[in-house]
């Protein structure tokens, strides 16, 4: 009953603080056309469009997909909008894949996007209400205490976060689409950047970006046809989503159960028993550098309390045996509503052998990961060069 699903087209925009030269529809069309061109298709070949983005307040447009219907070639077609907080465009890619997997559509276009320059994200996220507890320090202030707790629990060296930021920003230099291209970055420049939310330094936080990411997914016949023409598809081996409440007493926010369950589910479905060995490359949602060691443990790549050792040993570097975020990751580009799909799509580019200078040699199985809310919403997929 379940249809195999192939990613046969991928397109993305250059990420920048302010695009300025394109409208909302223009931004989405740029990514969409590139994905279609990659797939050797036009809008006529698309049965359904699935979009995802962060809260509507970010652009000040309520359900913006309705005014995008014509621009996305979706008149007379289904258009679907997903909203699951920061994990949204990972979830969006999963919903799109399931429309093919469930046999409802043959070919689906999915797009994640954000135009953060349209408004002040910090404002959009902080509508004040007298009955809510004060969060006196913005988004970083929410997560920093949990990072401090991770450091205390694991005994990780203070500079673990610096190493992650340095690696991801250097990886970004190989990704022409990345927002931040810091050619002069050094260990010292990260270390000496302002300590915003101790233990998080400025250079260990993600930027705020404009950008869009699009993928074309087809059924098995479509994937086979692309492969026959020499265009390597990324085959979806497994997808999973998990959620847990934001404020549940006893909830571990350092290594949330939903993340553990989601990883266990996606690996099990993909037939993976030893993720550290079997995953060749991972694109993981790391908005603050310390989340790399935290997710290494949460995803089951490392024993609890030892994730930082992999970072220090260079395991997650481009030339390590488990490269994390060769694209430069969220730390280098963060159009919020696209950031999840970028992880999923960069994983797909790797197993298609189409990641350009950031390609990891021999990548045949990759993990895409996104999370959101109060570290409570998770979406993940495993893609491979070979059919599942």
């Amino acid at each position: 009953m379940a249809e195999r699903v192939a990613v046969v087209g991928i397109g993305q925009t250059k990420y920048t603080a302010t695009r300025g030269d394109v409208s909302l529809p223009g931004l989405l069309r740029e990514a969409a056309f590139r994905a279609l061109e990659d797939a050797h298709m036009t809008f006529d070949d698309i049965d359904c469009v699935v979009v995802g983005k962060a809260p509507d307040f970010f652009e000040g447009v309520m359900v913006p997909e309705y005014s995008l219907v014509s621009a996305l070639g979706a008149v007379g077609k289904p258009i679907f909008r997903v909203h699951t907080a920061g994990s949204v465009s990972g979830s969006t890619a999963i919903v799109a894949s399931q429309l093919v997997e469930g046999g409802i559509h043959g070919t689906v276009l999915t797009i994640g996007w954000e135009m953060q320059s349209c408004s002040e994200a910090m404002w959009a996220l902080s509508v004040t209400m007298p009955f809510q507890q004060q969060l006196v320090a913005g988004a970083g202030g929410y997560f920093a205490p949990y990072i401090r707790q991770y450091i205390a629990r694991s005994g990780a060296p203070d500079d673990t976060g610096i190493l992650v930021a340095l690696k991801d920003r250097q990886n970004a230099l190989l990704n022409p689409y990345a927002h931040l291209h810091e050619h002069d970055i050094t260990y010292e420049s990260v270390r000496d950047s302002i300590m915003l939310w101790d233990p998080i330094r400025y250079s260990e936080t993600c930027p705020s970006s404009d950008g869009a990411f699009a993928m074309v997914m087809t059924n098995e016949a479509g994937g086979d046809a692309a492969a026959a023409e020499g265009r390597q598809p990324a085959w979806i081996h497994a997808t999973a989503m998990r959620s847990e409440p934001a404020l549940a007493a006893g909830r571990d926010q350092v290594s949330p159960q939903a993340g553990k369950d989601c990883a266990a589910s996606v690996f099990k479905q993909a037939g993976i028993t030893n993720p550290r060995k079997e995953i060749d490359v991972a694109e993981v949602y790391v908005p603050f550098s310390w989340y790399e060691p935290m997710w290494l443990e949460n995803l089951g790549f490392a024993e609890e309390g030892t994730g930082w050792q992999l970072t220090h040993d260079g395991v997650t570097a481009r030339d390590g045996d488990l490269p994390f975020n060769p694209s430069g990751g969220v730390l280098s580009s963060n159009p919020i509503g696209a950031s999840g799909m970028i992880r999923f799509g960069e994983a797909a580019l790797q197993v298609r052998g189409m990641a350009g200078d950031r390609q990891i040699d021999g990548a045949r199985k990759a993990l895409g990961h996104a999370y959101g809310g109060a570290a409570q919403f998770y979406s993940m997929w495993v893609v491979g060069s070979d059919k599942p």
């Binding site: 250059k14 030269d21 007298p130 970083g140 401090r148 101790d198 409440p245 934001a246 404020l247 006893g250």
Partner: protein, 190 residues
């Protein structure tokens, strides 16, 4: 149409789709528009709900109240009316203390609140006495580098005449001089 520098794109992998822009290019007699501003302002009358109303009425009287999950017995502050673990209404109200314990924190070096905090300041996760879930709060009257896990705090309130139905009644939290709570007793609260 834009007069900003063209965006660098990788060569060879993808090209821009062929779009006939001749009509746009022929517009030479007007300046390009890169930004339009549409101010939008909405006023919402939020409903705190039954549980939060009780909480706000209490905080107006310098009291902190939580609500207990009927299944797990955990006490929630601020109560939202439903236990997120059982999905059941939290009907039993629990009087909490006005002191608490630091379960984690960060030191902030930028003013995110826009009201000129002393920099640096400490934002902490504070477990209010009698509750089972920490809340965020500002910690003052102590050097940031001296804040630590297990530090005991008292809540510092606005003047009686300034008291309203708001969390803002608590100005900040400050050390209460009691001995630290051992880390092992706080393990379940982060």
């Amino acid at each position: 149409m834009s007069d900003s520098a063209p965006i660098e794109l990788p060569e060879g992998l993808w090209s821009q789709p062929a779009v006939d822009t001749s009509a746009v290019d022929s517009i030479t007699d007007v300046e390009s528009v890169q930004l339009i501003t549409t101010p939008a302002k909405f006023v919402y009358d939020y409903t705190p709900g039954v549980a939060r109303t009780r909480f706000l009425r209490a905080i107006e009287q310098k009291r902190l109240v939580g609500q207990r999950c009927p299944e797990t017995q955990k006490v929630y502050i601020p109560p939202a009316g439903v236990s997120p673990v059982s999905g059941l209404p939290t009907l039993e109200e629990v009087e909490l203390g006005l002191d608490g314990t630091v379960v984690s924190y960060c030191i902030v070096n930028l003013d995110f609140t826009g009201n000129a905090q002393e920099i640096p300041y400490v934002s902490a996760l504070i477990l209010v006495d009698g509750s089972d879930i920490p809340i965020y709060g500002l910690v003052r009257e102590i050097a940031p580098e001296d804040v630590h896990f297990g530090l005991r705090l008292k809540s510092v309130w606005v003047e009686p005449e300034e008291m309203t139905t708001s969390f803002e009644n608590i100005k900040w939290w400050a050390p209460n001089g009691e001995p630290d709570v051992p880390k092992s007793e706080l393990a379940d609260y982060v």
